[in-house]
Symmetry: C2
Subunit: 380 residues, 2 copies
């Protein structure tokens, strides 16, 4: 945490925990006998509770969306560009809540937690959860915090899917809904990329059918490979060309070791894979990609997206990024069109960017200006 | 082979072999003490040798480009849509030569061949070969067949790169050059996809540092995963949506086994991966992707593609496909522009297609009509 970092920062924050002893009936039909959520909050809840904003995280995100965990911490939360005093989600106005979702690996109940019944980590026995299940847990957290209404529910990518689900599942709770770089459901291509990531994990001999913690092992190579696939698809081809081009790592085509990377881009991708392994759990990765695959907003309307959105009462902000080919602008346009057909109030913008899917996390002036202006209209 | 299949077919063909005892000096500086090529030919070489056409194969291709291997064979060669009587590469007019490249796994000298010096399969000790090395071997094959000139050198994808290399390396040999769904060099994104495929293979415990044949094993899971990555990137997102959408495999989200595929597209992709394993060698896959990565036509012009093409004397046909995102139309356009700048004769067409990179192998009426018309101008 430096003086520069502290500009418009929420400062040092501490995660909190809440235990929910009541059973959670999952969409799959399975039941979770209670669960725990780790979460962070930024800003102050107003006396009438009218300024609460829920931020939902994406595949590899968690509850630490903004600020720093200590005075010496140099890495802010994952959406620090967006959350803070004077930022789009302005903590001078809003009380922001961001939980780690169940099934996650950063403190909320998930596959790496101990299962009370067995005394062992859940591992592969943790049930598959869905976007709708997360909405249920987030609602319990809201009630725990004496919140009865969200001024806004906001998310990017898989987080945007949660915001959309909130808007139709609990319309009375949500007056504003922001879905960024999201989609009403994955395409076949997207499911295929997720499947490759899962196969990479399943193929690792350290996977042990998902019970690697019990076996005191870790499918690190499979996870690194899965992350490489993901990371590559979150970038745009043009950005990669600008950043790496055909630059060689050592100025030569012939490394000492046949398996060494030759091009800079290979080296970069391997590094991204290896870094991820140390902070993420393989079962969570599998679970999150499956939750992504299964999300299908149109199912609520028997395949008709307009019909599925009929009951929503929120005002919507839909944002896409021009170079995002994993969650293409056409999918956001599809959402915006369906919202218009359903006679909802919607603002849609496709932001010109070369940063691909990752753009939703980055500091892009046009994006942040639009987001700020729109949030300025959210009454509290 | 059925009556329908025989329409415009070259019929039953037999691969031939040629041994080249002279050492081959590779671009890497390594030397191969002789090599063998397996190849097929279709049509008749004219008395003056003026009608010879070289067809170069892509990553997973081989020498069997057209016709059938027996009366009962039901699967024709990989470019049977393009090669045959009355087809774009008309065997009534042309004598077509198609070798399996060295480093391959279908009969030419490669990593799965026995190394004479050791009596063991080459495995990881097989030297890295390049597009230029292949051109050298193809030239030796031409000389072996009493060919001193190619009426045309033709290829798609990595095959197109070989055709381009021929045009600048041996300009006097090549009067027509056809590069389809190719590029003057890979982008960073393309290299990254190849690197993921290689990492999938390297991560397989059966890989044994490339010496799996000696160890009597096979990195089948890694290869299947590598092929899944490749196959997915050769298809367009729209085609996948049309073909698979979000269709479930068993009508349910909950398969018996946690690792079973849920969506049709997952099942399809796994099948493609598993099929490939039985017919391809992992070291060859690694070698071919590296040859792709390293090809850089502009290097001949110190980074200036126009300069690199200065010496070519061929007439060029450059074809791309609108939905090919692995070898995007913009890369073919770049080739066409550089050829124009270098004052070469060039025809460029971007074919409207939803079939992605794979389109170059498929039966598309506009593509085949253009290709036929252009080849009709090739004097023999």
């Amino acid at each position: 945490m430096t003086q520069t970092n502290l500009k418009n920062s929420v400062g040092v924050v501490s995660p909190q925990r809440a235990h929910f002893p009541e059973p959670l009936y999952l969409e799959s039909g399975e039941v979770l006998d209670g669960f725990e959520l780790i979460y962070e909050t930024y800003g102050e809840l107003s006396a009438d509770g009218s300024n609460a904003v829920l931020v939902c995280h994406a595949l590899s995100g968690n509850h630490h969306a903004a600020g720093f965990h200590s005075e010496s911490d140099t890495k802010p939360g994952w959406w620090d560009t967006v959350i803070g005093p004077g930022k789009p989600i302005d903590t001078n106005r809003f009380f922001v809540v961001c939980p780690n979702n169940i099934g996650g690996c950063d403190g909320s109940t998930g596959p790496s937690s101990l299962c009370e019944a067995t005394g062992e980590p859940w591992g592969s026995h943790f049930p598959q959860v869905t976007v709708a299940d997360w909405v249920e847990t987030q609602k319990r957290l809201a009630e725990h915090l004496n919140i009865q209404h969200w001024a806004a529910v906001i998310g990017g990518s898989l987080g945007g899917m949660q915001a959309l689900e909130w808007s139709v599942r609990y319309p009375d709770w949500v007056s504003h809904c922001v879905a960024i770089a999201a989609a009403p459901g994955l395409t076949a291509q997207n499911i295929a990329f997720n499947e490759i990531a899962r196969q990479a994990i399943f193929s690792d001999p350290e996977w042990h059918d998902g019970n690697y913690l019990e076996a005191d092992s870790n499918p690190a190579q499979g996870m690194a490979l899965a992350r490489m696939v993901g990371h590559l698809t979150y970038m745009s081809a043009d950005k990669m060309t600008d950043r790496f081009g055909r630059e060689l790592r050592q100025g030569s085509f012939d490394p000492q070791d046949d398996e060494e990377p030759v091009f800079q881009v290979e080296s970069y991708l391997r590094y991204q894979g290896s870094q991820f392994v140390s902070r993420f759990d393989a079962n969570t990765y599998v679970l999150m990609t499956r939750a992504l695959d299964r999300f299908d907003l149109s199912a609520r309307g028997q395949g008709d997206l307009t019909e599925a959105l009929r009951d929503a009462s929120a005002e919507f902000l839909i944002i896409s990024f021009s170079s995002d080919w994993r969650f293409a602008p056409s999918r956001s346009q599809e959402m915006a069109n369906a919202l218009l057909s359903a006679e909802k109030r919607v603002t849609y913008s496709d932001i010109e960017s070369d940063a691909g899917h990752d753009a939703f996390l980055l500091d892009d002036a046009n994006y942040l200006a639009l987001f700020s202006a729109w949030m300025g209209r959210v009454a509290t």
